[in-house]
Symmetry: C2
Subunit: 131 residues, 2 copies
DNA sequence: TGAATATATGAACAAACGCTCATATAGTAA
DNA sequence: TTACTATATGAGCGTTTGTTCATATATTCA
C-alpha cells in the first residue's frame, strides 16, 4: 500500500491515485527513519493489548487488589460490585496476556499477579498522574 | 449502594433487595481489606486513561516514534498511513494526558514526549511480552 | 490585504468493548 | 448417583472508540 493512500487532502473532490499521493511529507528522512525503527506488528499488537488490559477500570481494580493478596472470583465480584461473570471474563483476558495466574483449592480458584511487571507498570503510571 | 447489588444469583427470577444481598462472599476480610486499600476513584480514572492511551495501535506507534525524535503531524500521518486529522485527534488526547508536548516553528508543530514515563512504561511492557 | 500551508475541531458511523443473563463445566460431599 | 458450589462461556445489547470527511483556525509570505 502506498505511503500516502490515506492522507487527507483539504478540499479534494474525486482524485486519481496519483493525485492522492501528492501528499505532504515535510521531513521525508524522519518518516523513513521512523518506519525503519518501528516495532514489528506482532510486538506492537502485544504491547497494545497489554496496555489495553490495564486501561479498564474493572481490570485495573482487579490487578490493584491482586497486588496486595490473592483473591477468588466471587470476592473480587463483591469488591467491585459487578457480577462474577464479568470478573471471570476479565480474568480470562488477563490470564491470556499472562498478567495473572491462579491456583485451585477445592472449587475455589485463587488469582494472583503472574509477575512483577504489572506492579512496575502501575507504579510508573502512578508517578505520572500524580505529578 | 449495597456491596452485593449486582452479584449474579444463578437461576434467580424476581428477587427482593434482601434476596439480592444473599450473595456469596467467601472471604469477607479480604473484600473489606481490598476496599480499604483501593485507590481513589480519581486516581484510578487517571491511571486508567493513561494506560488506555497507550493501548491503541496508532497512539502507541506515535509514542514509539516520538521517543526517537520529535515529529510534526503530517510526518506522523505519512508514517502511520492515516489522515492528519486522525493524528491530530490522537495527539490532542495524548496532550491532555500530558504524555506529549509540542513546540512551534512557523506553522509547523513539532511533537515530542513530555517526560520519561512513556519510555519507562513501554520498556516494562516490552519485557513482559517478550518473555 | 489575500493566498497558501499546517494543524485543530466537530459530526457521523462502523467496529470494538464491557456488561448482564442464561447456561455449561468442574470439583466436592451426601 | 444427585445436589451443591465456584467458575467459565456464549449470546445479546448498549456504550465507547477511532477513523474519515468537512470545516475552522493559525501562521507565514507575497
Amino acid at each position: 500500500m502506498s505511503v500516502c493512500s490515506y492522507i487527507q487532502i483539504r478540499g479534494s473532490g474525486l482524485k486519481t491515485a496519483k493525485d492522492l499521493c501528492e501528499c505532504r511529507v515535510i521531513h521525508e528522512d524522519k518518516v523513513t527513519k521512523a518506519r525503519k525503527t518501528s516495532l514489528s506488528p506482532e510486538i506492537t499488537e502485544k504491547l497494545c493489548q497489554t496496555f489495553k488490559a490495564l486501561g479498564d477500570n474493572t481490570r485495573l481494580k482487579i490487578l490493584w487488589a491482586l497486588e496486595k493478596e490473592e483473591m477468588c472470583v466471587c470476592d473480587l465480584a463483591a469488591m467491585l460490585d459487578v457480577t462474577e461473570s464479568a470478573v471471570s471474563h476479565q480474568l480470562r483476558l488477563l490470564r491470556t496476556l499472562r498478567l495473572v495466574t491462579n491456583r485451585r483449592e477445592g472449587t475455589i480458584l485463587y488469582y494472583s499477579l503472574a509477575d512483577m511487571h504489572v506492579s512496575q507498570l502501575v507504579q510508573v503510571a502512578l508517578e505520572h498522574v500524580q505529578e
